[in-house]
């Protein structure tokens, strides 16, 4: 490979949950190398272990077998170096903090000065197009705007890796498509490595460089589909035959679902 670097190396990762003397195999033998700046989707039906894999990468879970390397070091070191930004399915905003204060929260934890926090928050608000809503409270925003705040907060720490767990699945179709375009624009500007969990095939195809298809029982990586659609991608791309063909290809790659 011509000079590309591995940002995330997932090496034969397996995860077995133990609860009440019962063992649930959530993942077996997942291996995947993700390059710096790549946009990767983890696609699969409910219960196939997408969240589990994301949490293992983020050092929120320790795998029961195999290992994950972030830039050659452990997820724990990566976490302590603030290399992760995370966006959840629900916005997970602090309802007693304004939009700006929500974005500043990770910066407060880093003990940045007030001025620097405000400056970074301002940039992030501009990036996600919420400058006018800096002093609003989360409850005063629509679901889509709340999720934008979540993205801005995740990016505020300037992480190298952006982890997103079904961030748009609770939104309506219109808002979601708008956010897809915005996310790609933000990604183009900031050059993060993105690991994006979804169970929506079209979403995965539209956003990603590669779609990793996970199959359940037990969770495993059953296919990796390259999405060689040109960038920048816009809404119109969804109507092209190339897009439709790739969606069909990804759908067909599911094993016995």
């Amino acid at each position: 490979m011509n000079g590309s670097q591995t940002a995330i190396k997932i090496d034969n990762v397996g995860m077995v949950y133990r609860a009440d003397n019962q063992e649930v195999t959530a993942l077996t033998g997942v291996s995947l190398d993700i390059e710096k700046g790549e946009f990767i989707s983890l696609l699969g039906p409910s219960g196939c272990g997408k969240t589990t894999l994301l949490r293992i990468v983020a050092d929120l879970l320790a795998p029961t077998s195999g290992q994950v390397l972030i830039d050659g070091s452990s997820p724990r070191e990566a976490r302590l170096q603030k290399k992760y930004g995370m966006v959840f399915q629900s916005p997970v905003l602090y309802e007693w903090r304004t939009v700006q204060k929500n974005i500043e929260l990770p910066l407060e934890l880093m003990k940045l000065s007030k001025e620097e926090r405000a400056e970074r928050a301002r940039k992030m608000l501009e990036l996600v197009g919420l400058t006018d809503f800096a002093h609003h409270y989360p409850q005063q925003l629509s679901g889509g705007m709340q999720q934008r705040v979540g993205i801005a907060r995740a990016l505020a720490l300037r992480p190298e890796i952006l982890l997103m767990d079904e961030p748009f699945s609770a939104l309506d179709e219109f808002t979601r498509e708008k956010l897809h375009e915005d996310l790609l624009r933000i990604w183009g500007k900031t050059n993060k490595t993105v690991l994006f969990v979804t169970h929506n095939i079209a979403e995965a195809v539209f956003l990603s460089d590669r779609v990793c298809v996970l199959s359940p029982h037990p969770g495993r990586l059953s296919a990796v589909v390259n999405i060689d659609l040109p960038r920048p991608r816009t809404m119109e791309l969804r109507d092209t035959p190339e897009f439709t063909a790739l969606v069909a290809k990804v759908r067909n790659s599911f094993e016995g679902v």
Binding site: A58, D59, L60, R79, L80, K82, Y84, G85, M86, F88, S90, V92, Y94, E95, W96, L105, P106, E108, L109, M110, Y137, Q139, Q140, L157
Partner: protein, 274 residues
């Protein structure tokens, strides 16, 4: 906005209707009792008779009028209830934090918490009095014990109500334990803490009055029983009943007021309403 105003004014209306209803009910009862009993004031006097007794200058005992007796004794009882309440509040909050911090503390403390809650206060009070040998200290201790349980359990429930994602977020930002508590756990548990306070404030007052009845050394409860035994005017009893009810409601209301001032969530609601 208009709908909100209607709801607000209708709530006031409902309260008014309630109070009026109670007054009418009380007075109906009073007229009935007056007709059938020889000493109706021992059972159910008219409200105006009670109000008249408040302003009466008749000396009842130790050179004091009924109102003076009630107020001086109320001071002794309510002050102790207040101290006990503050101690129970601080203790309950701290224990909740400790229980959240350490699973071992929770496992050890929880059965004791349940136990304290199950022992009836009337059974506990004489024991506390026998140990402390001081009625004032006993009032404080009992009020503190009663406050402790609701505050502690509610605060703990609040600490446990924090979404896992918020904790994940803190973890991913490599927040230390102090930051996790200060930025996430404690702000989330404040409304729960206040729920505990609202429950326990009237309880602390009731408990303190009950403790008074154990000994003849003054206090609202003591006057209450003396008045009932006809050692002094029965109107002392009625005044105390109304005063206690009023202070109980007021204490809970005060907690609500403090909550609007200090709870981050409530402060926000107030700002939005404005």
């Amino acid at each position: 906005m208009k709908a909100l105003q209607t709801i607000r004014s209708s709530r006031k209306l409902v309260t008014l209707v309630w109070i009026l209803g109670l007054i009418i009910l009380w007075e109906c009862g009073a007229f009935y009792i007056e007709a059938v009993k020889r000493t109706p004031e021992n059972v159910l006097p008219h409200l105006w008779q009670i109000i008249a007794s408040v302003f009466s200058t008749k000396v009842i005992s130790n050179g004091q009028t009924a109102t003076q007796i009630v107020l001086t004794n109320a001071g002794a009882t309510l002050l102790r209830a207040g101290y006990g309440f503050l101690i129970g509040m601080a203790g309950g909050f701290l224990l909740a934090i400790l229980m959240k911090l350490s699973g071992i503390v929770e496992k050890v403390a929880f059965p004791y918490l349940m136990l304290i809650q199950m022992i009836p206060i009337l059974g506990m009070a004489p024991i506390v009095l026998a140990i402390t040998k001081d009625i004032g200290v006993s009032r404080i201790v009992i009020a503190a014990i009663l406050t402790f349980y609701p505050v502690c359990t509610n605060t703990l429930a609040g600490l446990k109500s924090v979404e896992q994602e918020k904790l994940d977020l803190m973890y991913l930002c490599a927040a230390n334990r102090y930051q996790v508590y200060w930025k996430t756990l404690i702000p989330t548990c404040i409304p729960f803490f206040f729920t505990g306070l609202k429950i326990s404030a009237p309880m602390a007052i009731t408990a303190s009055i009950l403790v008074d009845t154990l000994q003849g050394d003054g206090g609202l409860g003591c006057m209450l029983s003396q008045s009932l035994k006809h050692a002094m005017s029965i109107y002392v009893f009625w005044q105390i009943v109304f005063l206690s009810a009023f202070v109980g409601v007021a204490s809970s209301w005060l907690m609500g007021l403090l909550e609007r001032r200090f709870s981050p969530q409530k402060r926000l609601a107030a700002r939005k309403g404005a």
